[in-house]
């Protein structure tokens, strides 16, 4: 076995090139005035942090945190009972329903967003089919509903995988020791599924926080999120303008990266090798 370790060496090299190096560059860009494309002399500075004071960015952060937080909370409140219910079904039925809940993820994300646009437009094609006329496009509610529908399976799946493997004997043992339904849930089932919940939160919160197409389309651009800031800093402005925005975009991405790694490390306390991430 020991001899197989050398297969891990190219892995380290591969990860170093694509993760460690870019992270270092993001760090460098965030704390300096170096221009990535023009080169030249540079000095270290904290000036990039000013971006967090810009009104647009502040609004975006506020919107992102509020919407991603609400999305995650909603996904958890809907997703946990669903996972619990599926895990109590006969194994085969549960698994089939679980995979049916995942199948829609195979559909193109952009088209699913377009579909929600149709749903949220009054007197539309959707009204012709269902008789429902919904006027939500451009509101935060529209973004929230779209996000919950988009990320719900990512919350249900890790929780389901943990609950499904849960030893039924533990529940019986708790009952035997005098616990009622609420106590069984709060003291046995929920603590044991905490790892799955955390994975679910990571898989929901981070994409929700950083999505940029969904808020742009369902919010009609009226509700800017962090993802839109990064996109505009790095993709749109870069093509024609000053290198400064690259550095600012780098700082925002780096902050997100730190956030995601912190969350992930928190999760590893429950699941050392991240197996519930799948």
């Amino acid at each position: 076995m020991r001899r197989l370790r050398r297969y891990a060496i190219p892995f380290v090299a591969w990860m170093a090139v694509f993760i460690v190096v870019p992270t270092l560059i993001l760090l460098f860009l965030s704390f300096s005035d170096y221009s990535l494309y023009d080169g030249g002399p540079f000095a270290f500075t904290f000036a990039r942090f000013e971006i967090f004071a810009a009104p647009l960015v502040l609004t975006a952060i506020g919107n992102s945190v509020a919407l991603a937080g609400a999305t995650t909370a909603a996904c958890f409140l809907i997703g946990y009972p669903v996972a619990l219910y599926l895990s109590h079904l006969p194994e085969k039925t549960g698994k089939i329903l679980m995979s049916l809940l995942i199948v829609p993820l195979w559909s193109n994300m952009l088209l699913r967003i377009v579909a929600w646009e149709k749903v949220f437009t009054p007197d539309s094609f959707f009204t012709d089919l269902t008789g429902l006329s919904i006027d939500l496009l451009g509101s935060k509610t529209a973004i929230l509903v779209g996000m919950v529908a988009m990320y719900l399976p990512f919350m249900v799946f890790p929780i389901y995988s943990v609950l499904e493997k849960l030893d039924r004997g533990l529940v019986e043992a708790a009952r035997d020791l005098g616990a009622d339904d609420a106590q069984v849930f709060l003291r046995v089932i929920f603590p044991l599924s905490a790892g799955g919940v955390l994975s679910g939160v990571i898989m929901t919160l981070l994409p929700a926080l950083t999505s940029f197409v969904l808020p742009a389309r369902l919010g009609l651009g009226r509700v800017p999120l962090i993802g839109n800031v990064i996109e505009s800093k790095l993709m749109k402005e870069v093509l024609g303008s000053s290198g400064r925005s690259i550095n600012e975009g780098a700082l925002v991405s780096l902050s997100l990266m730190v956030l995601s790694i912190v969350l992930y490390i928190l999760a590893t306390r429950f699941d050392r090798e991240g197996e519930t991430l799948l």
């Binding site: 892995f11 219910y85 109590h88 829609p104 559909s107 579909a115 981070l206 993802g227 996109e231 969350l263």
Partner: protein
Amino acid sequence: MTARTRKRLYQTVGACFTAAAFLSVYTPIAVILALSVNDSLKAYAWEGFTLRWYADLFATDVMHDPIMNTLLVAILATLIATVLGTFFAIGIHALDKTRRTRMMVLNNVPVVNPEIVTGISLLIVFSLLGFTLGFHTVLIAHVFFGVPYVVLSVMPRLKKLDPNLYEAALDLGCTRFSAVLRAIVPNVATGILAGALMAFTMSIDDFVITYFTSGSEYMNVSTWLYAAIGRSRSFTPAAYAYNAIIFLFTIAAIIFINSRKEKKEREVRR
């Protein structure tokens, strides 16, 4: 309240939540399916049933390039990521516990990192290396985010293996490399397959990372769609038809896999 009525209450509540979950997740799918047979270009209203978008998909070449690009990248990236990921997993699994945990944290960074950050990181590496953005950079990017999924799904299989399997093969005369192929790989095949499937679905549906690494010329279905709905002139409902076909295909695949599993189980019982 008796235990039985309580149980029934829990079940009803659970079923309601599950129904709500399915409703929210399947609403856009149903809309896409309806749009794919709606006889209208702009789809402002329902204008009758048609199959012409499906015919368009095969007849006209509007979406031909993006679809081909998507499939080619997905297939190649899956193949490469599967081979790399399998060997990486075998290597990581052979490490001692602390280093293995550290490697797995590294492995999971791209999984938990927001796609937009991964996209930017890759963009930085490619521009530093002086690569021209296009097919090759997209392929590398897709291999990159496919590998962790393969590693993640092969690893639990490796853990279940008898630790001496590899040595048993050496003992019986295999060289180091053929021992891996003959003793380990066949026994983690289901994990490899699952990982490949993950990598493939991630690749075929990817938008964000392709968006950042493809440059302005090269497009897959998602980036083409993004550009098309932005301009809305070149958009065609054939995209809905494409998506409907993919959706029906995955449903069929799931039914097929499940029925085969059942058949196998019945055989084992006999």
